[in-house]
Symmetry: C2
Subunit: 119 residues, 2 copies
Amino acid sequence: MAFDPASLTFDARGLIPAVAQDHATGEVLMMAWMNAEAVARTIETGRVTYWSRSRQAFWVKGESSGHVQRLIELRIDCDRDCLLLLIEQEGPACHTNRRSCFYTALREGEERIVLDPMV
Amino acid sequence: MAFDPASLTFDARGLIPAVAQDHATGEVLMMAWMNAEAVARTIETGRVTYWSRSRQAFWVKGESSGHVQRLIELRIDCDRDCLLLLIEQEGPACHTNRRSCFYTALREGEERIVLDPMV
């Protein structure tokens, strides 16, 4: 049976969280949100497309920056309410120009920046 | 300055998504939710503690199953609205007895189970 994005479990806003992971290195790069249409577009085009909550619009990742995400494989969790995107990331995933958005670590009770922006 | 969980960005329900990743293998194991108190308890005890939305109660992962998660490092994303937990996972993370909750892959337009339950 062909996969139907509507079979996923969306929250009250019609959104599902999607975690993007570098398919080759395993690095977790970012988390953002998709609606059913963003899931469908991502699968159809192979270009990861989120739903921007702030802009209330589709967000083709990298459309303006060039830092695109190519979908290698989409995974669904047991509750069908979270997606894991195995991707190929062009350059930085983060708007701060860092490879990953998760660049702040808690160490000895203090926040430490553990990733530098890419040059 | 000591880290204050209240400095994170919580949603309207007072929750923040937390992605658990095996610190050694890089495998993404699950995603669940925390409130500020769950974040504080996780840091204090080193035992990952979520907030169960269905039970509306703290959920010390593995408390009944023994499949505990030990926090190795907590990371915060650029928007401070998502956490990445680098953990040591005892046994399976998923209630289906699989190592990861993300055991369903979309391949050639069909859903495929790509992880077997652990014995």
